[in-house]
């Protein structure tokens, strides 16, 4: 069952890649059609794209169900399982918004993000881990699943916002255009992380080190990437492989910084190769494809996603989260970092809605806010989980 589950996920991963190409083709094809018939605007390529996406979605749900049967609990309890589930929800959210607005460009951006997420998730441990007592709760299941759904819908707002920004990049000031390109660069860093991790994991690279941790205890750590940043007072155990270049003080997590550096370096190389081949910024490369898009529709999709996603997120992350915490710890709110960041996300989207409703922040401003909102969600998912430890640190 566990093998079936992995295969289903793998196939859906490939299908999303293929669907992206069809949505891309659909935008090009649309140019002619759009003028004749403004109401029904779906092209053949777009139809094929959404059908392939739907098959991928069904297979991914199949992954979820089979892993559930194999493990005996819904697979949402560690980083791999949660991010994968989040990617399923993202596809689902994309399909809802596609159904409402029929914009193929949404697929061109949303599906690669899904692909990156699945790839990123696979870099974490994929073991089916038995549940510790705190995780044995039905409220937790409801809490995590609803939160993922809410975040996924909010992520579509980011996708639409990003399309808006890329589409209008040539009308922007140099500084703003730089930041649009920075978003593209960050996405490529994730690709860099996946590329570096996969390469060295195929090469079976492992490096064991002993070091002295913050509490002054001798501890062992295993690196799966060549060590640039060695931990505090390290000694190398494994033979062969690269000696650490720089030693770090105890309060820095050297292994994570090392991974981050590798992701950054690999991402930068990939980015440079693209820049050298295309001789243009990535945003400029994508811009012509999006030229025909209507700003108002993009703006509305972005806003609509927040309108749908915000209540779902509130219900899942805050209300269900509080109910779960009440049963697990006897207090519904503990000011744990992950909790606080959920509150910050909520504050942020409240501010977003108020700025939009009352201050008239539409179009570009709104698009930037959608990007920042998604950055906060990702920060909470990745940084808070991995770096700031708290009650939720079991999710690593």
């Amino acid at each position: 069952m566990a093998e079936v589950s992995s295969i289903l996920l793998y196939v859906s991963f490939i299908l999303y890649l293929i669907a992206t190409l069809f949505f891309g083709a659909s935008i090009r094809q649309k140019k002619g059609i759009q003028k004749q018939n403004p109401v029904s605007r779906t092209s053949v390529a777009g139809k094929i794209g959404i059908i392939i996406t739907s098959i991928g979605f069904v297979l991914q749900v199949g992954y979820f169900v089979t892993r559930w049967i194999a493990g005996g609990y819904p697979p949402i309890s560690n980083m791999f399982e949660f991010i994968t589930f989040f990617s399923i929800m993202l596809v689902g959210a994309f399909m809802i918004l596609y159904y409402l607005y029929r914009i193929p460009a949404l697929g061109v951006f949303a599906l690669p993000i899904v692909v990156i997420l699945i790839g990123y998730a696979s870099m974490f441990s994929r073991d089916i881990t038995p549940l510790s007592p705190t995780l044995q709760s039905n409220w937790l299941i409801v809490h995590v699943m609803t939160t993922a759904a809410g975040q996924a819908i909010l992520a579509i707002s980011f996708v639409a916002g990003l399309i808006y920004l890329v589409k209008n990049v040539q009308q922007m000031s140099r500084a703003k255009a730089f930041w649009v390109e920075a978003i593209m660069f960050v996405l490529i860093i994730f690709v860099g992380f996946i590329a570096a991790s996969t390469t060295f994991s195929i090469a079976n690279y492992e490096m064991d080190l002993m070091y002295v941790n913050k509490e002054g205890e001798e501890t062992q750590v295993t690196y799966h990437l060549p060590v640039i940043f060695g931990p505090h007072e390290y000694t190398v155990i494994s033979e062969g492989g690269m000696e650490p270049l720089i030693e770090l003080p105890a309060w820095v997590n050297a292994k994570q910084l090392n991974t981050l550096t590798w992701s950054f370096l690999t991402g930068a190389v990939i980015y440079l190769v693209i820049r050298l081949l295309a001789r243009r910024r990535i945003a400029d490369l994508l811009q012509p494809v999006l030229q025909k898009m209507n700003n108002d529709i993009l703006d509305e999709v972005s806003y609509r996603s927040v309108l749908i996603g915000f209540p779902v997120f509130t219900l899942g992350a805050l209300i269900f989260g509080m109910i779960y915490a009440h049963f697990a710890w006897g207090r519904f709110w503990a000011w744990d970092p992950k909790e606080v960041w959920a509150l910050i996300t909520w504050f942020f989207y409240s501010a977003f809605l108020h700025l939009r409703l009352s201050r008239g922040w539409h179009g570009e401003k709104s698009a930037w806010l959608a990007v920042i909102g998604f950055a906060i969600i990702m920060f909470n998912l990745i940084f808070v989980n991995l770096v700031i430890a708290g009650l939720h640190s079991y999710a690593v």
């Binding site: 038995p130 509305e300 209540p311 209300i319 049963f327 207090r331 000011w335 942020f348």
Partner: protein, 550 residues
């Protein structure tokens, strides 16, 4: 200021911009606008009308959404700062907080502590910030909701031309042969769930007005949640205590005024092993032990009658049960939660009194580490007196002192009394260490054994505010859904002599609204409205700093 009578006959409250009934522009400056600001229907808001007394000024200040957003953003930034380092309440410290932050995080920790960020969420300024958001919620809502409600209730089917022509969606055309199509249009509107009203051949279609109340409903919910959170500091509403209880022990439950007692029969830890299935083997190999269950089996007692201080009460058994993580034990609004445990804690130590010369064992004493006796009499002139007891000893400059009241590392200063030494010999005994400060002794206390016990750490909670917070949360969510899943859409069709005016307004999702209008007016003689919003948005923004939307 005075009430304003419109030419349609409706009398508007002072400060009204657009007539509540017909929409005619009542304020000169509005007439220059190509598109009206429809957010609050041009109603008279207190904050915009009165600005004389100090109350007016406070009201105006808090009624501003700009101020509200600034407060939200401040709360956001403050909350984020609180996550940089762990909060004091979420950390177990063996030293003072000041020391802890300095030791762990260096100069940054020192500054963090000095600024009070280690207790950020309980600080007065953070509470004031949240309270200001609360005030802003109340004032913003009242300032807008009341006039908006009145205006929407009083709106008429026939609107003034100046109102219709300044809508974002507008078009006009010849009124010649529309009569034949009006019926079709009305039917289509009804099919799209519009409420259609007619007056002198003019049509007004409206749906989803309730969604306008969404924001105000969710604000009420938030206020209730804030009130609930405030009530926790009221006496009797909230209890949060920790109960460490040994296996076999019966103890009063803190926070219950000595009313309830708990007996810990057994504390259980289970871990996963091979029997739990093949699928977990890989994870167990990689991760080592993973806990499966933490459980305390308990019996609850209630103290009967008047409890006198220092006296053991009569206990009546109430119920027995188990406390597991995620499955608290409940009684009388209280909940007991499995929060922590300590295994193999020292509880008693046994020593033999030995005559050094002959290795003769004179007697054995067992010291309860939680409740040591002053003197242990062994008969025949032998006795052991405890002069000092250090449950958690630490030698500072050779002088023993205790770090904590918990017997983690016990040490004793004994006075060994024997027939040879009726005054006693002084001996200091710690784990693997014996000191005889006043010279060589004839007798010694030889360590024999230690008894250990398992502790269960239970959290005692009572929170009478939960109901209120739950209601607030539910109302909030209901309001948010109301306001975001639906939209308020209105279409006006007015015949004015030879021309027909078609205008439409929605509070959001204009693109979808246009698609709906296109379907309703398709293949009729009525002109399809033109979206003039996006082109004019910039101009409107410059005029007043707000968009035509919303």
């Amino acid at each position: 200021m005075e009430r304003v009578k419109c030419e349609c006959g409706h009398v508007n409250p002072p400060g009204t911009i657009l007539c509540e009934a017909c929409g005619k522009i009542l304020v000169e400056s509005e007439k220059n606008k190509k598109i009206l600001d429809m957010r609050y229907e041009g109603t008279a808001r207190r904050s915009q009308t009165y600005n004389r007394t100090i109350i007016d000024k406070i009201w105006s200040f808090f009624s501003s959404v700009k101020v509200g957003v600034v407060l939200i953003v401040l709360a956001l930034i403050a909350s984020a700062i609180g996550t940089i380092l762990p909060q004091e309440m979420n950390t177990t410290m063996t030293v003072t907080p000041e020391q802890f932050y300095a030791d762990q995080y260096g100069w940054f920790g020192r500054i963090y502590y000095a600024l009070g960020f280690h207790n950020l969420y309980q600080s007065t300024w953070y509470m004031l910030l949240i309270a200001s958001i609360g005030v802003s919620l109340v004032i913003c809502s009242i300032d807008r909701a009341v006039p908006l409600y009145k205006a929407l209730k009083r709106q008429r089917v026939t609107r003034h031309n100046s109102f219709l022509k300044r809508q974002r969606f507008f078009n006009e055309g010849p009124a010649d042969n529309i009569q034949a199509h009006l019926q079709t249009v009305k039917e289509r509107m009804e099919r799209h769930r519009y409420r259609v009203l007619e007056e002198n051949g003019n049509i007004f279609a409206e749906k989803g007005r309730f969604s306008r109340w969404g924001p105000y409903v969710n604000h009420i919910g938030l206020i209730i949640v804030l009130i609930g959170a405030m009530l926790r500091s009221a006496p009797g509403m909230y209890v949060n205590e920790m109960l460490w209880i040994k296996e076999g022990e019966t103890k009063a439950i803190p926070g219950t005024n000595q009313q309830y007692y708990l007996k810990n029969h057994e504390f259980i830890v289970e871990v996963y092993d091979e029997s739990d299935g093949e699928v977990y083997q890989e994870a167990l190999k990689n991760r080592g032990n993973i806990a499966k269950n933490y459980q305390t089996n308990v019996t609850l007692y209630k103290a009967e009658g008047e409890v006198l201080p220092g006296e053991k009460p009569r206990l009546e058994e109430v119920k027995s049960g188990e406390i597991r993580v995620n499955h608290p034990f409940r009684f009388d609004h209280y909940g007991l939660y499995q929060a922590s445990y300590k295994l193999h804690e020292m509880s008693a130590m046994t020593f033999q009194l030995v005559k050094k010369e002959t290795d003769e064992v004179i007697g054995t004493i067992t010291i309860d580490l939680y409740n040591p006796e002053k003197k242990y009499d062994l008969g025949n002139g032998y006795a052991v007196e405890i002069l000092y007891y250090f449950p958690d000893v630490e030698f500072k400059d050779g002088i023993p002192q205790t770090k904590s009241p918990n017997p983690n590392n016990p040490a004793f200063a004994f006075q060994i009394i024997s027939p040879e030494h009726p005054e006693g010999e002084r001996s200091i005994v710690a784990i693997q260490q014996t000191l005889e400060p006043l010279g060589e002794n004839d007798y010694k206390l030889a360590f024999q054994s230690v008894d250990t016990v398992n502790y269960s750490g239970l959290m005692v909670r009572k929170d009478r505010t939960l109901g209120l917070i739950a209601i607030g949360g539910a109302i909030f969510l209901f309001g948010v859904i109301l306001g975001s899943f639906w939209q308020h859409r209105r279409i006006w069709i007015k015949q004015d002599g030879e021309t027909v005016l078609v205008s439409a307004h929605t509070n959001k999702n204009w693109y979808s609204f246009m698609k709906e209008i296109e379907i309703i007016l398709e293949d009729t003689a009525l002109p399809i409205p033109v979206d003039r919003g996006s082109g004019l948005e910039k101009a409107v923004n410059e005029n007043k700093g707000v968009g035509a939307n919303g």
